[in-house]
């Protein structure tokens, strides 16, 4: 998929529940009656939630820790601090000085990485099973014992500037989405790139980073998800002997933080970039997040995105096969806030206005006439096949659980989601489309090639 069609999950940004729905954290063992017999869930006394997904096909484990802190928790005027802290987590403790953690993982042949999103920060290693204990010990250690040298703070700030140059400045797709988010999320932490501005990046101090760390990194604010060749008995013992020694600590303020959403400030944004060959247009709808939507509605929007944007979907039929677009996409991206987006890149010598008309027409037709049973059946089959295919990958399984649990969903949630896929109806999907794909919540984002042919065309405001 071309860069311009980069999925919105790159910019998945936490928002705050409007309604303060009750947390569904499964802190009661009796809820495990709903779980698959294979998946195990328990809590340590210090509040750490632990999930085990056994996979004994190979002597390998995937060890991941998910912290309930992300870009949405950045202090005002210090955007990107959560992401900066993710980098600094590799800069050492007394027991494992800077670089030692990564060296150990490398030496044993592990795969390792970390990432920050709006909702969460996570760290993982995929290692031969014999090394799980050491991974847990080191990860538990840096959960509470992180030290930071001033010189590491300074050099890592410049590394992040490099990262920003590479992933934001020279990435027209991401810049366009940020503009759309500024309009969708005015006055809200979602309205800026999670990496922070260059000025903010250069202003991070050791004190600020440590304060943020002590505020958010605590066992009761984290989920440990382990997938792989380990038994429940083994994992319980390992967890007690490592993470179990981390003192409980209250996290304040509690997440998600309530912040109101303002009306969308602008309904059309655009950028121009010399790297584009043909223009493209996205429509991004702001939709409620997990705490404000029924499970059934979330599933409905998820399937709707496929009905629109997949290789068998409506947009391909209407825009690609007809020759007006060279590719199309649709995506439902959700966390504490949500977005439903669709878009297309114009084919050569096609007016962008024509592409936008076709996209808007697809939405209108959807709202008016709805979907067919055949469309639903096809995407349902695809989804269910995907469940099987993804079971092959420990990281995919760990991510499914990790991303749900950091949003305070119960561990049985994943299976509930699949259940809803089986039972969702045409009526459910039609209702979700009418309810959530509304003009008031929409921003149209245009990307134009630079003025090889003169000044870029003004925004295609003639289109409905």
């Amino acid at each position: 998929m071309p860069k311009f069609m980069e999925r919105l999950t790159l910019l998945a940004i936490v928002a705050l529940t409007l309604l303060g729905a009750p947390s569904l954290a499964a802190d009661d063992a009796s809820t495990t009656g709903q779980l698959s017999t294979a998946v195990v869930e328990f809590h340590l006394a210090n509040g750490l939630q632990v999930v085990l997904i056994p996979d004994h096909r190979a002597p390998v484990v995937t060890h991941s820790i998910w912290y309930k802190v992300g870009a949405t928790d950045d202090p005002p005027n210090s955007h990107g601090l959560a992401h900066f802290l993710e980098h600094m987590m590799f800069k050492g403790t007394d027991a494992y000085p800077a670089g030692v953690f990564s060296r150990i993982v490398s030496r044993i042949g592990g795969v390792q990485n970390a990432a920050t999103t709006a909702d969460h920060t996570f760290f993982y290693q995929m290692v031969p099973k014999a090394h799980l204990a050491q991974m847990m010990e080191m990860e538990a250690d840096r959960m509470v014992n992180l030290r930071m040298n001033e010189s590491d703070v300074v050099s890592e700030r410049t590394v992040i500037l490099q990262e920003r140059r590479a992933t934001v400045d020279d990435n027209y797709s991401r810049r366009l989405f940020i503009k759309a988010y500024e309009a969708l999320y005015a006055g809200h932490p979602n309205n800026t790139d999670l990496i922070g501005s260059p000025e903010e990046i250069l202003s991070y101090s050791r004190d600020d980073a440590l304060a943020f760390y002590h505020q958010h990194y605590a066992p009761g604010n984290a989920v440990l998800v382990v997938a792989g060749d380990v038994t429940e008995a083994e994992l319980r013992e390992l967890a007690e002997n490592t993470y179990g020694h981390v003192p409980a600590k209250a996290v304040s303020p509690e997440r998600p933080i309530l912040r109101p959403l303002q009306p969308v400030t602008e309904h059309r944004v655009s950028i121009t970039d010399g790297h584009l060959v043909t223009p493209g247009v996205f429509m991004i709808f702001r939709v409620p997040g997990v705490n404000q939507m029924e499970l059934r509605e979330g599933v409905a929007l998820s399937i709707l995105a496929e009905i629109l944007g997949s290789d068998t979907g409506r947009l391909r039929q209407k825009l690609v096969l007809s020759g007006i677009a060279r590719d199309v996409a649709a995506d439902f991206d959700t966390g504490f806030t949500g977005r439903f987006a669709l878009g297309a890149n114009a084919a050569a010598n096609v007016d962008l206005a024509q592409v936008e008309t076709a996209l808007a027409g697809s939405i209108a037709e959807l709202r008016e006439k709805g979907i067919t049973q055949d469309e639903l059946d096809l995407e349902r089959a695809d989804f269910l096949a995907g469940v099987i295919m993804q079971a092959d990958f420990q990281m995919a399984l760990a991510s499914k659980y990790g991303t749900a649990l950091v949003l305070n969903q119960p561990v049985g949630f994943i299976e509930q989601w699949i259940g809803e896929i089986k039972y969702v109806t045409v009526g459910d999907i039609n209702a979700a489309a009418r309810k959530y794909l509304v003009e008031d919540m929409k921003v149209t984002a245009e990307g134009w090639p630079a003025a090889a042919t003169g000044a870029p065309a003004p925004a295609a405001s003639a289109v409905k």
Partner: protein
């Protein structure tokens, strides 16, 4: 740091809200899968299966999950393009996904989706690779789709037009994005007059002229039974596999007709700079390795590669250029081997003012490793890395299938997976010092720089043109 993204769109799996009042009965699907994974491991061993018709496949049985992955490769690739018509193989690869048999593009997509079959394709200068995944439940129907893909593509006029336009757009996009195109530009100067140095998508002119006949010529020449490697991992046993192999591949021509790939020769280093409207400078650098590498050399090559560039934050390049000095966000260097050729290349992005310094540091690290060799500690750490990471990489059926294909490509034995650790262990420091001198050649480096106009050097500056 990058976010991991596996398998199908994760957004399909993103949670909505668990409405407490709408608890539905559990669906057995995920439970069944997870229960299977929790069962004790089966012994994984490679079986060499020969079908009644003589098709050879390497098989690893795994009956835990109800899925089968087939990865196959035909030798050929873009190196087979007529010299005056680059882009034929790439076009043919595209058309593999535009309908087959009596199903047009849309119908074929639908047919795959209905039964949970999926495919991915990759084309290089030397090979066409197809990875095909299917559910056990729909095995025979899925294999029939694979068969049609291989032997009965359609070349419908509207699909051809669509492919032509998309490829033309892709070529233009590369020309407007010299940073994205940097490796192609590097390979042009590293491999002059050799198929590796030719942009596999072709040119605007050549793509406009490619005909169905061109595509058929390539297919008939390359998609043949004596040119085929097959790897199968999953829920099928050796006794059952034979008949399906003949069904899928039996209709292919018996013999390929390929132009042999020339052996690379190193050429004098060149430098080129491109100016572009970017905030970061990208640099790519590389050279041809004249010393032929054998299978016996490869554990040592892997050790040296890891020491120089493999360990995140711990390799020589990462340590000196990212960790110590913060000059780059990522830097990589790869020593690549194909059955006949070997070469090395690397790249990084840096602040424009630091790009030159970062490059010189990289060159210096390559030189140091070539002249001094690795330390005992580095060697030990690299060995344990390779042994451990091999096990990790083979923890899913896609990784296994891919490895089975590579083992066949380079002529390894059936016990290669089991004997890998021992081969790595057996490499000596003397072997590594000798290998390092042979394959690490900092003075042979050619370099491509893509940066903002104000930092582009006076000589050799090229501004990308709109259309070629």
């Amino acid at each position: 740091m990058a976010q991991v993204n596996f398998g199908r769109k994760l957004s399909n799996m993103m949670p909505g809200f668990a409405g407490l009042s709408r608890m539905t009965a559990l669906v057995a699907l995920l439970s069944t899968m997870l229960a299977g994974l929790a069962a004790p491991a089966e012994a994984a061993r490679i079986q060499r299966v020969v079908s009644p018709g003589g098709i050879v496949a390497w098989l690893i049985e795994s009956h835990t999950l109800p899925l089968i992955r087939i990865t196959l490769a035909f030798k050929g690739g873009s190196s087979q393009d007529p010299p005056d018509k680059p882009g034929v193989a790439n076009f043919a690869e595209w058309m593999m996904n535009e309908g087959a048999g009596d199903m047009n593009t849309a119908e074929f997509f639908r047919a795959k989706k209905l039964i949970g079959a999926s495919e991915a394709r990759q084309m290089t200068a030397e090979r066409q690779i197809v990875s095909f995944s299917m559910l056990s439940e729909h095995r025979d129907a899925s294999l029939e789709l694979l068969r049609q893909m291989l032997v009965a593509p359609r070349f419908d006029a509207d699909a051809m037009a669509r492919a032509r336009a998309a490829i033309a757009n892709s070529i233009e996009a590369l020309h407007r994005n010299p940073a994205s195109n940097i490796l192609n530009e590097l390979f042009k100067v590293m491999f002059p007059g050799h198929p590796y140095g030719v942009e596999k998508q072709g040119t605007q002119t050549s793509v406009a002229a490619i005909s169905v006949e061109d595509l058929q010529n390539y297919r008939h020449a390359a998609y043949a039974r004596d040119n085929l490697s097959v790897a199968v991992v999953g829920d099928i046993d050796a006794a059952t596999l034979g008949i399906p192999l003949d069904k899928v591949f039996g209709g292919l021509p018996a013999h390929a007709e390929l132009r042999p790939l020339p052996v690379l020769a190193s050429s004098p280093p060149e430098q080129k700079t491109f100016a572009d409207d970017v905030k970061q400078t990208n640099v790519a650098f590389g050279y041809v390795i004249d010393t032929p590498l054998t299978a016996e050399d490869m554990p040592g090559v892997s050790i040296l590669n890891h020491i120089l560039s493999g360990g995140i934050l711990t390799s020589r390049l990462d340590r000196e250029i990212r960790v110590k000095r913060g000059l780059v966000y990522s830097i990589g260097f790869v020593i690549a081997r194909t059955p006949k050729n070997q070469y090395a290349y690397g790249s990084f992005g840096a602040e424009p003012a630091s790009a030159e310094q970062a490059y010189q540091l990289a060159r210096e690290e390559i030189r140091k490793l070539a002249e001094e060799g690795p330390t005992a500690e580095e060697i030990q750490n690299a060995k344990t890395y390779l042994q451990g990471s091999y096990v990790v990489a083979l923890s899913n059926s896609a990784g296994l299938a891919s490895e089975l294909l590579e083992l066949q490509r380079f002529g390894y034995d059936l016990d290669a997976i089991d004997s890998y650790a021992a081969h790595v262990e057996a490499v000596t420091p003397e072997q590594l010092r000798k290998l390092a001198r042979q394959i690490l050649r900092p003075d042979a480096l050619s370099r491509i720089v893509v940066g903002p106009p104000e930092t582009a050097g006076a000589a050799g500056v090229t501004t990308p043109t709109a259309v070629k």
